[in-house]
């Protein structure tokens, strides 16, 4: 096993000699390209946020309208005649000849 470790170490030493030195400077326009991409992305995300704001407002509006309509229905039902009477009236108007 030690012999194998030694062989592996030698291979690692050999390979390490072939590792290229990293480039010091970026290619021309690299920084500009990155920054423009970032700013464009940030702008798009901002637009996305405004769309989500509109949709949230729309949802709130729809919820308010639904609440109002429920309240109105309840109000109408409360002030209408009792249900037994309404049922009797509909039976009479349906069964008896006019």
């Amino acid at each position: 096993m030690n012999h194998l470790d030694e062989q592996l170490k030698r291979l690692m030493r050999l390979a390490e000699g072939a590792t290229p030195e990293p480039a010091g400077a970026p290619s021309p326009w690299f920084a500009r390209r990155v920054v423009q991409q970032w700013l464009a992305g940030a702008e798009a995300a901002g637009e996305g946020a405004s769309w989500s704001l509109v949709s949230r407002r729309g949802l709130a509006c729809a919820a308010a309208v639904m609440g109002l309509s429920l309240a109105l229905n309840f109000h109408v039902w409360w002030h209408s005649e009792p249900p037994e009477r309404l049922a009797a009236q509909s039976v009479i108007s349906f069964v008896l000849p006019r």
Binding site: L11, R13, A15, P26, A31, V35, G41
Partner: protein, 197 residues
């Protein structure tokens, strides 16, 4: 605080205000730190500058949440570079089992040259050795391979590895132990394959 640190410190608030020229200057200031990590950690099939670009985009996306000075900034961007390379390794498909007969000739020669342990191996032998080691390391998980590269191949200190990866010392030790065991097994299998008639 030296001159470059002061320059970076001046740039930070301007970049937060989305000043393009300052952001470009910051990219140029941080580029050597990023490319030094990317060049060594990237998969060979992916271009270093493409990864560097990805690193800087991630850096800017999370920049508003960063609070710290120039030193912390460099450590942070180096860690982003490391994580991005790790993700690129994860995205690659698993390599098939390594066999002596499947190795290209230059890798076989490199292995023989490494066993001869000459003081000045030729560039071709070194390149072959690099490819062979790459093939061996590809049998490990991405985290394991990067650890072996840093500790065993490049002889980095534990402090450096901890700073770059953000992993605990125990975590590094356990992973490295498993990685070495796995690598030794793969290498032993390859050598057995080579020695058997």
């Amino acid at each position: 605080m030296d001159e470059s640190s002061q320059a970076v410190a001046v740039l930070l608030p301007r970049v937060r205000a989305r000043d393009a020229a300052s952001a470009e200057a910051l990219v140029e200031a941080l580029y050597p730190a990023v490319i030094a990590v990317v060049e060594r950690r990237r998969p060979r099939s992916v271009d270093a500058e493409d990864i560097a670009q990805e690193v800087f985009l991630k850096f800017f996306q999370h920049f508003d949440g960063f609070r710290g000075g120039e030193t912390a900034l460099v450590a942070w961007v180096r860690r982003i570079a490391f994580t991005t390379c790790l993700n690129h390794h994860r995205a690659r498909k698993a390599r098939p089992e390594l066999r002596w007969a499947d190795l290209p000739e230059e890798q076989q020669l490199a292995l023989e040259a490494s066993q001869a342990d000459r003081a000045t191996p030729s560039p071709a032998e070194q390149a072959g050795g690099r490819d062979l080691l790459e093939a061996l390391l590809s049998q490990l998980s991405p985290k394991e391979r990067l650890l072996v590269e840093m500790v065993d191949v490049e002889q980095r200190s534990w402090q450096e590895v901890k700073a770059l990866t953000g992993w605990s010392a125990v975590n590094i030790r356990v992973r490295l132990f498993r990685a070495r065991r796995k690598l030794r097994a793969v290498f032993a299998e390859l050598m057995k394959d080579h020695e058997s008639p």
